[in-house]
Structure formats: C-alpha cells, structure tokens
Symmetry: C2
Subunit: 144 residues, 2 copies
C-alpha cells in the first residue's frame, strides 16, 4: 500500500486545535505527502440582517478576506505554502468534501471533541465529513 500523498487538514482556527495541526504536519512529513490547509467560513443566515447595510456579496468578500489572512498566518506556522491554502465561504461539510475531490486528497484530518463527560461527541462537521468523504479520514481526539 502506498503512502498518503495529499493530505487535507481542516481547521477552525480554534486554540484547542493545535494537536490536530501537529498530527497532520507529522503525518505529512513521515508519509512524504503534500499538506493542504482548508478553512470554511460558515455563511450564516443571520448575516442577512446585515444585508440592509452592506450587500451579501460584500459580506462574503469580507469573510473570505478574513479567512485568507488567518490561513496565511497558520500556513506560515505550519510551513504550508499559499498555493496549498484554501479559504472558502459556505457550508463547511460541503466545501471540504468538494475541495478534497477537486485536489485529489487521500486523507482528510479532522478533530473530534470529548464533551459532556463520558459521552464523546464528534463535532457535527467532522461527523458529516466522515460520512461523505471520498477518501480516508483521520479523526484526532481532542481532550475534553
């Protein structure tokens, strides 16, 4: 079996997500894989209230700019070059799956949360990715 060649690391920029990042970087190094980074800024319907002031297109543009800035910072930290950084606006599950297909990812790295004591729940986005991914998925357990 061949090594992974094209890893897609999903990030929500959360402080607790550094074990996910570290795991993806370590695996990419060991497997000799290209490491890609994606963040999807979720477009919330509540933003439509703002549309009275600024247009929806403007809101999306601002979300995208902000995402690109944050991705660039994280990319620098993790040694992921700009052309392997993907900033998107939309529904995280959908955008991540589509990007994985588009760039031929063979491993998606997501985080999962341990919450509510014994009952461990995956984040809903991670869960959706697990069910629809075209490839392997590594679920990195975050400590509660």
């Amino acid at each position: 079996m061949k090594n992974y060649k094209n890893i897609l690391l999903t990030t929500d920029f959360g402080e607790e997500s550094s074990p996910i990042n570290e795991r993806a970087v370590q695996l990419a190094k060991e497997q000799g894989a290209k490491l890609n980074l994606i963040h999807v800024a979720e477009y919330l319907y509540s933003y439509s209230y703002m549309a009275a002031v600024v247009s929806e297109a403007e809101i999306q543009k601002q979300l995208l700019e902000e995402t690109k800035t944050q991705l660039a910072k994280l990319g620098e930290k993790l040694n992921v070059p700009p052309e392997q950084q993907y900033a998107c606006v939309g529904t995280p599950k959908h955008e991540i799956i589509e990007k994985a297909k588009e760039i031929g990812t063979d491993l998606i790295v997501v985080g999962s949360h341990g919450r509510h004591g014994i009952s461990l729940l995956l984040g809903s986005t991670s869960n959706a990715i697990l069910h629809h991914a075209p490839c392997d998925v590594l679920c990195v357990r975050l400590k509660a």
Copy 2:
C-alpha cells in the same frame, strides 16, 4: 508530536477489508508502533435458540475458539504475534473501546463502506467507535 505507539486494528475478517489491514500495517511500520489486532464475535440473541441443545457458555466458547483460529491466520499474514491478537465475544463497539483503553491504544483503525451510490454510510460499528473512542481513529474508506 510523538508518533503513534500502539495501534489497534479492528477486523471483521471480510474479504474487502484488506485495504484496512494494509493501511494499518504500513502506518505501524512507519510510525514504529506496536500493531494489535482485534475481532469481536458478536453474540446474537438468536443464538439463544441453540441454547436448548448446547449451553450458552458452550456457544460462547465455540465462538471464541473460532475467532482465535481466524485471528491466528490473519495475524500470521500481517506479522502480528499471538500476544497482540485479541479475540472477544460480545458487542463489537463495547469490546473494542474497552480493549483500546486497557492496552493504551493511541490509534484505532476501522473501515467505512461506500454504499447506496452517492450516500456513503459508515458501518454502524465504525460509527459507534468514532463517537466513543478514547483516542484517534483512522477511518479507511473502502470502495463500494
């Protein structure tokens, strides 16, 4: 971040599961991890019909013996020594999670199925493991 040290490969002995096995073997090699193998023979309530002929204890014993034999074959193929083979009878989800905790596993490798065309569903056991695992989980996508 440290490499994985203790990988638990779940198997259902299915013919289609060889990509899961290969991935676990490859990762264990690259990460320098100990590879453990587990199969849980599911104890079905329908077996209780048989209890009129043979005792429940006898059924469990036979299931366990059969599991051990199959595990030994697979273990030999994958170079997993007998002391790292775990044959269990019970509820797969429960037994796998308990064994993972007991032996200090840091990565559980499971399979997921692509079925029903576009809609990809994880096997229910894999899904349950993902939600209750004390550690990372690698979900190896099997082609439909």
